[in-house]
């Protein structure tokens, strides 16, 4: 079974995407399943290690937190951009030591940091575990430090480690 479906989550989401983009019918279901099997084999030839998700129940909580954070920082960044030049905004670099080392968790963290306006992932060093993030509003440095290392990082470690 695991030889046939090396990446079950990937396969199921590909089938779902295929059906959504075409039409829900038996023919498309079979074609989509074949395609996702081939994609799964191709992917496992590239990456033999399968991402292990330890705790599925944390994922919705992560999603909701991220969603609210994206709305909040969209508003904050829009306000700063519209008052640019009058608000004395100073951008800054912050360095956050991370304890999470799992490659998949880091990939998700990079998506989180990038998707949230106001923070940009600049560099992560595997040997020191230090993440450098550029933040648009330097006055919020404490806040972002707190959010990344006390909210997102524990959730990602729960999910992946």
């Amino acid at each position: 079974m695991s030889r046939l479906f090396p990446h079950p989550v990937l396969a199921v989401s590909l089938i779902f995407m295929w059906l959504m983009l075409t039409r829900f019918s038996l023919g498309y279901l079979i074609l989509g399943t074949v395609l996702s099997l081939v994609a799964g084999w191709a992917y496992s030839a590239l990456h033999s290690a399968r991402p292990r998700i330890r705790r599925w129940s944390t994922i919705p909580r992560l999603g909701v937190t991220l969603f609210l954070d994206i709305i909040r920082s969209n508003i904050a960044t829009t306000r700063l951009l519209l008052t640019e030049g009058r608000n004395g905004r100073q951008s800054a670099f912050i360095q956050i030591p991370l304890t999470v080392t799992n490659a998949n968790a880091l990939a998700v963290l990079s998506i989180i940091v990038t998707a949230t306006p106001g923070t940009a992932w600049v560099e992560y060093q595997t040997d020191t575990g230090i993440l450098i993030v550029h933040i648009f509003d330097g006055a919020e440095a404490e806040h972002y430090h707190e959010v990344i290392s006390n909210i997102y990082e524990p959730m990602l470690m729960e999910i992946f480690e």
Binding site: M20, S91, F93, A107, G118, A120, Q125, H134
Partner: protein
Amino acid sequence: MSPLDSIPLFLAIPVAFFVFLGATLTLIGALGFARLNSFYDRLHAPTLATSWGTASVMIASSLMFSFIDGRAIIHEFVIGACIILTTPVTLMMLGRAALMRDRAERSDALPEEMHIRPRPQDPPAQT
């Protein structure tokens, strides 16, 4: 009669709201991109367009075409997922290239402590 005429008011208002919100956020992002001075600041402005700018246009499109076709249409969210999953790749590449250049030039854009790459505190023992 164009399909647009059949849209009732209760649907037209949220659709218009989301399209307007998305377009406005994208415009503000683009203006910010043009106005900001430093490279690192400029990384931030377009994220308005890639986060809620895209999301709200997607929501509007999904609402309207689901109503016109009479079935749930969520193709748009595939676009959104692809945008969210792929932006870190380009952003990271640009950010790291800029950082490497600024470190090599000892540029003023970087604070003092970032001019050298931090060393591992306890290097692994040589065996």
